[in-house]
């Protein structure tokens, strides 16, 4: 027996790692290498040399504007998604609403957070688009949305559309965090003389803050990388980074193949940064909500 395990001891390490070989091959071929190709490509010239030029070439008005629009779009849709999602989650957890509302809301949030992309754009076009249901109803009542400057096929139209999956994502993440607020904290604060507002200001919101900020970062990254909804809604009209990259991949509209790499690299940087913030804050908040 001892001899057996001694013999096995030497051989054991490599053999066991074989078990995850398929997964490792998959990860390398279809996740890691493609990403590395982009990162490396962003620093390569057309003949393979190292250069910063591609990144520097990003500094055109059009591309700068696309990044800025993307950032604005992501910030605003994430911010609104956080606020509205929080309000709805708080309403369900603390608002004294009937207990039966919570489960359908969670289920619907699960569905809605996955209902993004082309069909979502269609749904909004059919509702508040130029010939949409609400648009027509309002026109019958004498309110002309167009005259007020509202156009679905625009930046703000996209923001409103993005909220359809941003809000549910916030609800799904924040409801467990709200559950983590122990009843005793609220009661202890009350006995010490605090009003509800004081409790939220001094205890609950600070405790939730890492969770809130982290989810905001997640929502930001989510919006930044989204393509399909924007493509179907505003198409080439709206100058955001994913659309620009899409056009570049399809047909090298920028005239410089390596610029695509740089664009994509910029996207990776931003989404990785946002997601890192999310993960760090998530870990932090879990420590408090234990």
């Amino acid at each position: 027996m001892a001899k057996d395990s001694a013999w096995r001891g030497k051989r054991r390490l490599p053999l066991e790692w074989l078990g995850i070989l398929p997964f490792a091959i998959f990860a390398v071929l279809f996740l890691i290498m493609p990403t590395m190709r982009i990162v490396i490509g962003a620093f390569q010239t057309s003949d393979g040399g190292f250069t910063f030029q591609n990144l520097l070439d990003l500094n055109t008005p059009s591309i700068r504007s696309s990044y800025w629009t993307s950032i604005k779009l992501s910030l605003i849709s994430a911010g609104l998604g956080c606020v509205i999602g929080f309000a709805m989650a708080a309403a369900v957890v603390f608002g004294g609403l009937p207990k039966g509302i919570r489960s359908p809301l969670m289920t619907f949030s699960g569905v809605a957070s996955n209902f993004a992309g082309v069909p979502l754009a269609f749904a909004f076009i059919a509702t508040i688009g130029p010939a949409g249901l609400i648009t027509m109803e309002l026109r019958d009542v004498g309110i002309n949305l167009r005259a007020y400057g509202f156009n679905l096929l625009s930046f703000w139209g996209l923001v409103i559309t993005y909220l359809f999956f941003q809000i549910p994502l916030m609800i799904l993440i924040i409801i467990p965090a709200l559950d983590g607020l122990k009843r005793e904290w609220r009661e202890a604060a009350a006995v010490l003389g605090a009003t509800t507002t004081q409790y939220w200001r001094m205890v609950a919101l600070p405790i939730l803050f890492p969770s809130l900020l982290g989810t905001f970062a997640l929502l930001f990254a989510n919006a930044f990388g989204a393509v399909a909804t924007a493509f179907a809604l505003t198409g080439p009209q709206l100058n955001i980074v994913p659309i620009k990259l899409f056009a570049q991949i399809r047909g090298d509209v920028l005239g410089n193949p390596n610029l695509g790499f740089a664009l994509a690299f910029g996207m990776i940087l931003i989404t990785v940064l946002a997601n890192t913030i999310y993960i760090v804050l998530r870990v932090r908040s879990e420590r408090w909500l234990k």
Partner: protein, 350 residues
């Protein structure tokens, strides 16, 4: 003049009456325990005093002021919870200062009071730490300081020691009692642990299924229980069936031996009496006039106390006797003489 008066308090959850006609008068500076098994309503009573539950009937008065309708944050009460409930995002100092900050006490006074409180619980060097960096006992002491900092009129404790280790539990309960006496603050303490309640309370309320079975000092509760429930819940009880020889003089017969009960207790022809473990003496002892024979079945040497199980008059009884270094405890199987006295008998009516 009662400082805290609870009068005809009642609480129903739907059709379930959890607290029934609860009455209590607490003097200023008194330490009262609400003792009982889970579900007896003791926590519900406490939460009604705190203001977290609204009674369905009855009233609560503190220092002459009717507080029954007041919200929890307007009652000027301090509370400690079983789960500590320290605010995890605030340091120890900020936790203790919370009640003062909420009232708008200026910073200088606040800091002074916090320092005073931290000195009281002996955790001055922890003022900058966060709750997750403290042990359970330390967190609970901070919780105490936090509750006392705003100088509340009444202190409520909801099983604050249940989540702690045994040793910490004992030292902390003594510390709580010590601080309570020093500050003279009226206190209600909820627990299911009778040893805890008896060791630190001025008076105990034994609760059973929503009503107060008996209110009294630990001595009274233990030695003169008025209901079977109280007698069984607090301490161990040995019950004997006895035949009444003469009800007028209180002479009864236990097994073969004669026993004289205190006047007025003997009724009818057959009755039950109960004796505490320490009332059954090993061997013959002056002052314990009745002697019966018993056979030792189990011997548990617990250090200063030796707990014996013996068969006496057909009943299996528990006896406690003190350790004596010169006298080894009896061996199981031995026949021994056991002395007892009628004056120790507890008579239960139901």
């Amino acid at each position: 003049m009662s400082f805290l008066t609870i009068s005809h308090l009642e609480k129903a959850f739907g059709s379930n009456l959890v607290v029934k006609d609860f009455n209590l008068q607490v003097a200023k500076g008194e330490f009262i325990s609400l003792l009982g098994p889970s579900g007896c309503g003791k926590t519900t009573v406490l939460r009604m005093v705190a203001g977290f539950e609204m009674p369905t009937a009855g009233s609560i008065t503190i220092d002459g002021q009717e507080v029954t309708g007041l919200k929890a944050n307007a009652r000027n009460i301090g509370m400690m919870f079983q789960a500590y409930a320290l605010f995890p995002n605030l340091t120890v100092a900020d936790n203790v200062a919370f009640g003062l900050k909420v009232k708008g006490v200026p910073r200088a006074k606040r800091d002074a009071r916090v320092a005073e409180m931290l000195k009281l619980i002996g955790l001055t060097e922890m003022s900058g730490r966060f709750p997750f960096q403290l042990s359970g006992g330390q967190q609970q002491r901070v919780a105490l300081a936090r509750a006392l900092a705003p100088s509340p009129r009444v202190l409520l404790l909801d099983e604050p020691l249940s989540a702690l280790d045994a040793k910490v539990r004992v030292s902390l309960r003594n510390e709580i009692r010590d601080i309570q006496q020093r500050l003279g603050i009226t206190t209600i303490f909820v627990t299911h642990d009778q040893e805890e309640a008896m060791s630190i309370s001025d008076r105990i309320v034994v609760m059973n299924a929503g009503i107060a079975d008996q209110v009294g000092t630990p001595f009274e509760i233990y030695n003169r229980p008025t209901t079977r429930f109280v007698a069984n819940f607090v301490g161990t009880l040995n019950t004997f069936a006895v035949k009444v020889d003469d009800a007028a003089t209180g002479r009864v017969r236990l097994g073969g031996a004669a026993l004289t009960l205190p006047p007025g207790l003997a009724v009818g022809t057959d009755m039950h009496i109960a004796l505490r473990p320490e009332a059954l003496r090993l061997g013959r002892e002056p002052g314990y006039e009745t002697v019966v024979m018993g056979q030792i079945e189990e011997v548990h040497f617990m250090g200063s106390i030796i707990r014996l199980r013996a068969r006496v008059a057909g009943e299996l009884v528990v006896m406690d006797t003190f350790n004596r270094a010169d006298q080894p405890p009896p061996v199981p199987g031995t026949e021994v003489e056991i002395s007892l006295s009628g004056k120790d008998a507890i008579v239960l009516n139901g």
